[in-house]
């Protein structure tokens, strides 16, 4: 992947934190499955939940939604 610019860096960090908090993105490397695959899968889950266009990419629509004030309970799965 091309080296991300600082702004890009922030976007990735925001997205990673969001997906980990609300969509169960696992921490750390994922062994056989490349990190970017898992990341893209989780973005798709989030886009599907919010009825955005499911692209798997961190597009503006997706980022804008990640910045909105919200509840801390995950959107999918267990909360404990």
């Amino acid at each position: 992947l091309p080296l991300p610019s600082q702004d890009n860096d922030n976007k990735w960090l925001l997205a990673e934190k969001y997906l980990r908090q609300f969509y169960g993105l696992p921490a750390g490397l994922q062994g056989k499955q490349k990190t970017s695959d898992v990341f893209q899968t989780k973005i798709k889950e989030m886009q599907s939940f919010f009825k955005l266009k499911v692209t798997g990419n961190l597009d503006d629509n997706t980022l804008e939604l990640m910045k909105q004030a919200r509840c801390g309970v995950p959107d999918i799965g267990e909360y404990n």
Partner: protein, 365 residues
């Protein structure tokens, strides 16, 4: 619902408020929490008893950052609150981020609305994908009855209905943009974007956004009613005028212009006109057309007066258009009339309907 449809086995649930935010009077917090609980008792057999000591099912508290449950808050904005599904110990407990500013109105985060949402979790509801539902994860301020049909269906699936229900008026679910029978309330341009109003919502179409974005009207313009009848953009003034009933509002971008709402009769419409069905600005002539029932009016934006000789019959002046008009738009010499699930492309120059489309074809459906 949460996995395993977690719920309280006993319908008589206890709650306790452990501490209070300094943003509001203690009595305001008590009332907000009680009203939030009442939202759910109205539609279920649940009852809530307040404890002032000891361990309650639902322990309610305000805290910042790491506050004892290893699910830290994050300072202002972002995470507002969270709650745990029914269960022993931390189950049902509800925490609010004290770094937020809590209010009783729409000026900051409304405690009642956030509490009603979190208590939904404390009763076993998970998040809804319906942007108009109380259990939608993103905060938005909305006045009036907070539950949508989706919320009621969810909570009654866990606890059943209230045996003697209070009459409630749940909000209809969000419109489905690809519903073939979809009709619009109003369509306008706004600085290069297209805004489509439907029920409590509006879609925002932007050339660079792949998908129309559905948003609650009130989350963008809290003081505009939940129902828009008509809207048009006057590019010369950089204003969008929004009509609801006998009132109209002016927007400059997404900001409300001072001095509004005004009565629509200030435009020169007679008092007997109580609603504008559709409005469209014809950039080439500088005129704005207002459609009311079977008639339409022509307003000269430059002089700020209604042209004489109106109203005129829509059917006579726009051959092929013999239906009332829900919404209208104008692009490059073509008028687009929307009536129920049909869109008529009308050539202004050749004075005839040249194409018929589905209303929601502009929503990529």
């Amino acid at each position: 619902h949460f996995p395993r449809h977690l719920k309280w086995e006993n319908n008589n649930v206890t709650f306790r408020i452990l501490n209070y935010t300094p943003d509001l009077k203690k009595s305001d917090v008590d009332r907000a929490i009680r009203n939030a609980l009442n939202v759910w008792t109205d539609v279920t057999p649940l009852t809530f008893k307040k404890l002032h000591e000891g361990n309650a099912d639902i322990m309610i508290s305000f805290g910042t950052k790491e506050h004892g449950d290893y699910n830290p808050f994050d300072g202002p904005n972002g995470l507002l609150a969270h709650a745990y599904p029914p269960g022993k110990g931390i189950g049902g407990d509800t925490h609010f981020d004290e770094d937020e500013h809590w209010t009783k109105d729409s000026s900051a985060y409304n405690l009642f609305i956030v509490a009603a949402h979190e208590l939904g979790h404390a009763l076993g509801m998970s998040h809804s994908t319906d942007p108009g539902a109380l259990m939608y994860p993103v905060y938005s301020y909305a006045s009036g009855y907070p539950l949508s049909e989706d919320d009621i269906e969810g909570i009654q699936a866990l606890y059943g209905p209230n045996p003697d229900p209070r009459k409630v008026k749940p909000k209809p679910d969000a419109p489905n943009k690809c519903d073939p029978m979809l009709s619009f309330d109003a369509v306008t341009e706004l600085r290069g974007e297209t805004i489509v109003f439907k029920d409590r919502f509006y879609w925002r179409l932007h050339p660079q956004m792949p998908e129309p974005e559905l948003t609650l009207i009130k989350s963008t313009w809290p003081s505009i009613p939940n129902k828009v009848d008509a809207a048009y953009e006057n590019p010369e003034k950089d204003q969008v005028i929004i009509f609801s009933g006998i009132r109209m509002w002016a927007l400059n971008g997404y900001n409300l212009v001072d001095g509004y709402p005004k009565y629509i009769h200030k435009l020169g419409l007679p008092k007997k006109i109580r609603k504008v069905d559709a409005a469209v600005h014809i950039r080439d002539t500088g005129k704005t057309l207002f459609f009311t029932d079977e008639d339409y009016w022509s307003y000269d934006e430059a002089t700020g007066t209604m042209d004489s000789g109106y109203p005129r019959s829509i059917e006579e002046d726009f051959p092929g258009m013999d239906d009332e008009i829900d919404a209208a738009a104008y692009h490059y010499g073509y008028l687009y009339f929307f009536h129920e699930h049909t869109q008529y492309e009308y050539s202004y120059t050749s004075r005839k309907v040249i194409r018929i489309l589905r209303t929601n074809s502009i929503l990529n459906c």
